[in-house]
Symmetry: C2
DNA sequence: TATATGAAACGAAACGTTCCGTTTCGCAAG
DNA sequence: CTTGCGAAACGGAACGTTTCGTTTCATATA
């Protein structure tokens, strides 16, 4: 059973010896449409080409696999994240993670989290994609780096804190929840940040939670 | 290009109106062999059947997808985990995680971590597999539950600590590293446990680490 | 008799490539 | 400034290949 999807109507023609931005936009839009209609796993390159009114050769020229199309969509979905208020590390982290998780959940229309986790999965057998994904992640976590650095400057973190390691620590729980399909609600995000800041022994994890 | 793999030699026949355990074992062994030879992504049901000298119909009768075969292999790879020494939470966690991560890494021959993460990925579009995976995880984390409970009884954790939540917290960093293909070395495991116990503010994350 | 087995063959679907004819760009000759 | 031309990208169609999941068959056991 194949879902019925109306292809785009505008027909595009070659713009000559340059990459067509209209085609690129059409492909990304087509991918997002199919993601919503049939889900990531059921998306095929053929269907994307048809939906975008593009040739398969054009797809393969710019994107080796559908995961690369997904990565293009991720890169385009930049968050409008306000710079950290700089009041407290706790508030900054809650704000940052809330926006990030909202983007993953699809509050802006596109469920970026679904794309992210599939990119991770396909990177397990595609070193080139793994490298591209790592570069994207580095760029995206710049602001988290700023948040932690500012907190260290204010004395909220010990001087000499390993920022790369701290970034991993902060992101590991959210990403784990993304991978297990249990993205947290806003209240849960605050508790998650408290646990991350205080650790297991702090006792801040005394809250009811759903079963695993 | 297809890798050359020597199929098994023993030929099996029907054992009557019962499931053949010999065939089941042959299929699991064939899967492990192919995993080592060509990698998870390149494994096909046809190749598994050929390698195991089994009929495709037999495969599909017992395992709907190759991820289900992987899950069977995971379930078979039980760790011989010693019960917690009960001396300190830190030591118990380091011991538990070291064994778990060693199993993932493939110290026992089979790189279980590769199977686990692919099962997670296929569970994203297969609710039935997701449920089976969750049941497997619940069973496998029983001992972690015991460790945390004993620590609470000893007063190392606040009474009333949410154990399900604490389990997630403890496992999130290891699983995150599994998903990003950066399983930690023994020394890194100890630092990881310290950070998990103490949290970001404790300052125990002041160590050099590789870049992300 | 009922059920499981290995083996073989099948149609359907997606893959990735290769053509085709068209369009546009950059550059060089007139 | 105009013209011509190679290079490159475009949509579209067709191709052979691979993998899928199913079906059929003869055989073997309880």
């Amino acid at each position: 059973m194949t879902a019925q999807v109306t292809p785009q109507q505008e027909t595009r023609t070659s713009v000559g010896a340059r990459r067509s931005e209209a085609t690129e936009a059409a492909v990304l839009e087509a991918f997002a449409t199919l993601l919503d209609e049939v889900g990531y796993a059921a998306i095929t390159m053929e269907a994307v080409a048809k939906q975008a009114r593009a040739g398969k050769a054009t797809l393969y020229r710019w994107w080796p696999t559908k995961a690369h199309i997904a990565l293009s969509l991720i890169s385009k979905a930049k968050v409008e994240i306000a710079p950290p208020a700089g009041v407290s590390l706790r508030d900054d982290l809650i704000d940052y993670l809330s926006r990030m998780i909202g983007l993953w959940r699809g509050d802006a229309g596109l469920p970026v989290g679904v794309l992210v986790r599939h990119c991770y999965a396909e990177a397990w057998s595609d070193p080139e994609l793994a490298e591209a994904l790592q570069a994207e992640r580095r760029e995206r976590w710049t602001m988290l780096n700023d948040i932690l650095q500012a907190a260290m400057a204010r004395g909220e973190l010990p001087t000499g804190t390993d920022l790369a390691r701290a970034k991993d620590f902060v992101m590991s729980w959210p990403i784990y929840l993304l991978m297990t399909d249990r993205l947290p609600s806003p209240e849960e995000i605050a508790r998650m940040v408290d646990d991350t800041l205080g650790g297991l022994r702090s006792g801040s994890s005394r809250h009811p939670s759903r079963d695993t």
